[in-house]
């Protein structure tokens, strides 16, 4: 069964059964991969549908790599990567450079006084803060008129969908250009990581704090997810929010961001994928010419604490002025585990469409929830993480009913083999999902970049379908029995509680405290 012949035969079967001509072999002909001298991996994929291309720059560092006491730094650097370079975004870089250094000196003095636990001198603190703000104003004179010049160039040259993301596991940058801007892109994207400048850092930090208020502090589900994730991981950095704790956002410096960049944005830790109407053999030398300028540096240490086994259920219950939610998660191994495909099969069975078990049980039959699903990747998947389930109770139903109904479905998974029809459906869907994912430059670029980084081989994108094809009914029962046990569970609940104070317009004598 494991002979090479059988495996390649399966690969052919997988696609020919679907009449799929763009199989792995034909993709091979349109993809060129090169590891540059500095360690950077470049993938070029020819997709000549229209004279445009998309790229994806994958950096193998996310918020897991944030230093202690500086949560949010990976995400903060991502914002700074839009602030320009020594040549883009400044009137005079030499002058600006020393002005920026002055900001760091004054900020460091301010911080030292601010964080004194005894004998803090409030008057001195004010003075130091003033000095810091003055230094910022002085530096802004160099960059102010050139604010967002990097983004302005990309947009006026026809860039589409310029964006970036940071998650627990990685950071990604992307946009699309008309194909005549390939060389311009290669210049801009390499320049961006050749000499980023930490200008307007402290204003951008304010922006990031607003992002935190929007996504987390002022959103009940955001608050639940943060509390839930924090409770689920005791040792591994997954217990810290990607956006960062407010205290840390109020503390880290531009120097910290530069250090993060120097440590993690090294060519051997990065993959650049380009997909579109390019000839790989012509595009590669252009890309190489520009990206070879990035200096080789040692690959960063990726050691992190391994989360110890959980020995008892954990619960977080938020009393909110919002309607209830039920969430639970079970620890599972990382994405490289041989059972990864089994978890994918369970996700599909439990959550995909109206035939999914959770939809049928909670939404269609019991009619207690408006939505319910289960999935891996909470909060990331590069390290051991959670397989999570949630349900959204409809009016009149409580979180406990959600727990009971989800557990009934989990028990069924442990006790009974899934049907032949279900197993077939899972496998058919995984093939069709892959095919549907190949129809856009953006989607392909991000998938190729991600799989190249995660497996050191983009072909794993295709092989993931083969792995799901090998999942058996016994695998599903085995993995469910191993994973979905009470001691391995963390529960997160939003319970409705009326506002603590009297709502406007009601009598001031209204009872306080809400549900007890």
């Amino acid at each position: 069964m494991t002979s090479r012949f059988v495996r390649s035969f399966v690969a052919v079967l997988v696609f020919s059964a679907l009449g799929f001509s763009q199989d792995l072999a034909s993709f091979e002909k349109h993809i060129l991969v090169k590891k540059l001298g500095n360690g950077l991996t470049v993938i070029v994929c020819e997709r000549p549908e229209a004279p445009v291309f998309s790229f994806f720059t994958h950096v193998d560092a996310g918020s897991v790599q944030d230093p202690m006491g500086k949560t949010g730094l990976a995400h903060m650097f991502e914002h700074m990567a839009f602030k320009g370079t020594d040549k883009i975004g400044t009137r005079d870089y030499a002058g600006e450079k020393s002005a920026l250094a002055k900001i760091e000196q004054t900020y460091s003095a301010y911080l030292a006084e601010r964080d004194k636990s005894v004998d803090r001198d409030e008057a001195k603190l004010k003075q130091l803060e003033r000095a810091w703000k003055d230094a910022i104003a002085a530096a802004d004179k160099f960059s102010g008129p050139y604010t967002n010049e990097f983004g302005k160039i990309v947009e006026s040259e026809g860039g589409e969908g310029m964006n970036a993301f940071t998650n627990y596991d990685e950071t990604g940058y992307n946009y699309s250009f008309p194909v005549n801007r390939l060389e311009l892109w290669a210049y801009l994207e390499s320049e961006r990581f050749l000499h980023p400048v930490m200008r307007q850092f402290y204003k951008e930090r304010d922006v990031v704090m607003e992002e935190r208020r929007m996504r987390t502090d002022s959103n009940p589900i955001g608050r639940l997810l943060e509390q839930f994730t924090t409770a689920s991981f005791a040792a591994h950095p997954y217990h810290r929010p990607t956006v960062g704790w407010m205290w840390d956002l109020n503390s880290f410096s531009a120097t910290d961001a530069q250090t993060f960049f120097d440590t993690y944005y090294v060519p051997s830790n990065m993959v650049v994928a380009v997909v579109g109407d390019v000839k790989a053999a012509e595009a590669m030398p252009i890309i190489e010419k520009y990206f070879s300028r990035l200096p080789a540096r040692p690959k960063p240490d990726d050691a992190t604490t391994v989360e110890p086994p959980q020995r008892s259920e954990r619960r977080v219950v938020l009393h909110e002025q919002s309607q209830p939610i039920y969430l639970e998660g079970y620890h599972r191994p990382d994405y490289r585990n041989p059972d990864d495909a089994v978890y994918d099969a369970i996700t599909d069975l439990m959550s995909s469409g109206r035939t999914s078990r959770l939809y049928r049980a909670l939404v269609r039959d019991k009619q207690i929830a408006s939505d319910s699903a289960g999935f891996s990747g909470m909060p990331g998947n590069k390290y051991p993480h959670l397989f999570a389930f949630y349900a959204v109770p409809i009016p009149g139903h409580k979180p406990e009913e959600m727990a009971e109904a989800i557990h009934a479905e989990i028990d069924r998974l442990k006790r009974e083999d899934i049907s032949d029809a279900e197993l077939k459906m899972i496998k058919t869907r995984s093939k069709a999902n892959l095919i549907r994912s190949l129809g856009s430059n953006e989607g392909l670029a991000s998938n190729l970049g991600l799989f190249q980084s995660r497996y050191d081989d983009w072909r794993e994108l295709f092989r993931s379908v083969e792995r799901i094809d090998k999942v058996t009914k016994a695998d599903i029962r085995r993995v469910a029995n191993k994973t979905f046990v009470a001691d391995n569970r963390t529960v997160g609940i939003i319970e409705f509680a009326p506002p603590a104070g009297p709502p406007p317009g009601t009598a001031p004598s209204a009872p306080k405290g809400g549900a007890q």
């Binding site: 009449g19 001509s21 549908e49 229209a50 445009v52 883009i88 604010t147 967002n148 983004g151 302005k152 990309v154 947009e155 006026s156 026809g158 860039g159 589409e160 310029m162 008309p178 194909v179 005549n180 060389e183 311009l184 210049y187 801009l188 951008e204 922006v207 704090m209 607003e210 208020r213 929007m214 502090d217 959103n219 589900i221 010419k289 300028r293 002025q321 309607q323 209830p324 469409g353 109206r354 408006s370 409809i394 009016p395 009149g396 409580k398 459906m425 058919t428 869907r429 093939k431 069709a432 095919i435 549907r436 190949l438 129809g439 409705f496 509680a497 603590a500 317009g505 809400g514 549900a515």
Partner: protein
């Protein structure tokens, strides 16, 4: 010794490389940008069947997939107020309620075994039914699509599930502050009872019956009200024959009539929604915009790009990057297909900078008169629109979608080509003129959803404040209003 030599050698190589690069690209402006090769995207074939159904066929042989969507005239804005939510329920139960020959659940199994989809939905001006399948499953899936299009059953048990889903949405609609702000802003712009702003309530959802759904289908779903688009790996002649076979004998029915939708903006002023569990205010400045049929549409597009579009815009650069007041900020003059869009300036900021932020937005509006959009800003905005223009039609599917929208709203089918030419002609004067014509601060309202106890100054420092009551009207007897411990 050796090491030094190596270092020097490496240094000179490095120098050599950088000198060479310097010659080619000292700054981004030195990087050569060749002209873009001519590109003529494939145009869909347009066919009108004798019964009035309009069909667009767009071949795309890249992947073994075939997708189709039928858009049908008539949508939520034609529903009487007492049954608000009818089209949401219709859009769900059309699919989940199955057909005369198979239940929705049987249809689920049939489609999922093929990793295929048939879905239905509704919006303000239309409803849709679509399919997506692997090419080899076309016979099966198309049959299911046609059956659902022509013979839906709207089984009553699925009406109940859809209603419960809507009740859930109603009960949760005050949980997320940005959701509250978006919806209340629309009510200010169009008027609270306008079909463009009204919300389903427990009572209006409860009032919807299976008969309403059957009757809606009977009224609107006729071939002469349908535009059908198909894209994917097929041969157009064969697909045309298939569609003629399936729909050729389907008789014409009554043409959908769009209702006259009155727009009566709320009295201009300051509006406040108190939300005690947030530390950030959602702020809108809101007014009434125009449509894409307006000859000023092109100048408005350039204005929007310069004023509130992407990274380059004034709002982003000033409010976000320079003042650090917001993560999310943007805005512009909205242009609807067939009714006025909204003028909106949107941002969210910490409670403590609420009034400061409203004043900053006010200043941006006032600056439009005193510091009009400059030549440089105009050039950048036009470059941005024109250089990225190709992304409007860089896939056969996008071209199809554009054409279907033009057909639906009665625009010329070459609207996109005309748009490009018209943008090129927009001048600084045009942009200043449209800004002056559409943006009048005294015809806009301020809306804040926030935690007043934390504000930098009371909102009343800006003038009289109207408190908006967003209490959810209780349900009629027999329906449970909220989850948790509220009852």
């Amino acid at each position: 010794m050796r090491r030094t030599f190596v270092k020097i050698f490496a240094f000179s190589v490095l120098l050599g490389v950088s000198v060479q690069l310097f010659a080619q690209a000292a700054t981004w402006k030195d990087v050569p940008v060749p002209s873009l090769p001519a590109f003529h995207p494939p145009q869909p074939k347009r066919i009108v069947l004798p019964n009035g159904m309009v069909v667009f066929l767009q071949e795309d042989h890249e992947l073994p997939l075939i997708d189709g969507v039928a858009r049908i005239r008539g949508g939520g804005r034609a529903v009487p107020a007492a049954k608000t939510g009818l089209v949401d329920i219709y859009g769900e139960v059309w699919r989940t309620g199955g057909t005369k020959s198979q239940t929705g659940d049987q249809l689920d199994d049939f489609l999922e075994q093929r990793a295929a989809r048939v879905e239905t939905g509704g919006s303000g001006d239309s409803t849709t039914i679509s399919w997506s399948c692997l090419k080899d499953d076309l016979d099966d899936v198309f049959k299911a699509f046609v059956d659902l299009l022509q013979n839906p059953e709207f089984r009553a048990d699925k009406v109940v599930i859809a209603q419960k889903g809507l009740y859930d949405g109603i009960s949760r609609r005050n949980d997320d502050p940005s959701g509250i702000a978006g919806r209340e802003a629309a009510r200010l712009a169009y008027g609270p009872n306008s079909p463009y702003a009204r919300m389903p309530e427990y009572a209006t959802v409860a009032a919807v019956t299976r008969d309403d759904l059957v009757s809606w289908h009977r009224t609107y779903v006729h071939p002469n009200n349908i535009i059908l688009g198909v894209v994917g790996d097929f041969d157009s002649a064969a697909m045309e024959a298939r569609l003629r076979q399936a729909f050729g004998s389907w008789p014409k029915g009554g043409a959908a009539k769009d209702p006259d939708v009155p727009i009566t903006p709320a009295k201009f002023g300051n509006y406040l929604v108190e939300k005690g569990d947030v530390n950030q205010s959602n702020i809108y400045l809101v007014g009434l915009g125009t449509t894409r049929k307006d000859p000023n549409y092109y100048a408005i597009s350039v204005f929007n790009e310069a004023f509130g579009g992407g990274f380059s815009s004034r709002l982003f650069s000033d409010i976000r990057s320079t003042l650090g007041l917001a993560y999310a900020v943007g805005g512009g003059i909205g242009t609807g297909w067939d009714h006025a869009g909204m003028i909106r300036l949107i941002m969210s900021t910490k409670s403590q900078s609420t009034v400061e932020s409203i004043q900053a937005l006010d200043k941006e509006l006032a600056d439009l008169a005193t510091k009009p959009i400059t030549d440089e800003e105009i050039k950048r905005a036009k470059d941005s629109i024109l250089n990225s223009f190709i992304f409007r039609f860089d896939s056969p599917g996008k071209v199809l979608q554009e054409k279907m929208a033009y057909e639906f709203y009665g625009y010329p089918l070459d609207f996109l080509e005309r748009y490009q030419a018209a943008i090129e002609k927009v001048t600084k004067e045009d942009v200043a003129r449209v800004a002056a014509k559409y943006i009048h601060r005294d015809q806009m309202s301020v809306l804040v959803v926030g935690n007043t106890a934390e504000f930098d100054k009371p909102l009343s420092s800006l003038g009289a404040v109207n408190n908006l009551d967003i209490t959810i009207p209780p349900p009629p007897p027999g329906i449970t209003a909220a989850g948790g411990d509220q009852q």
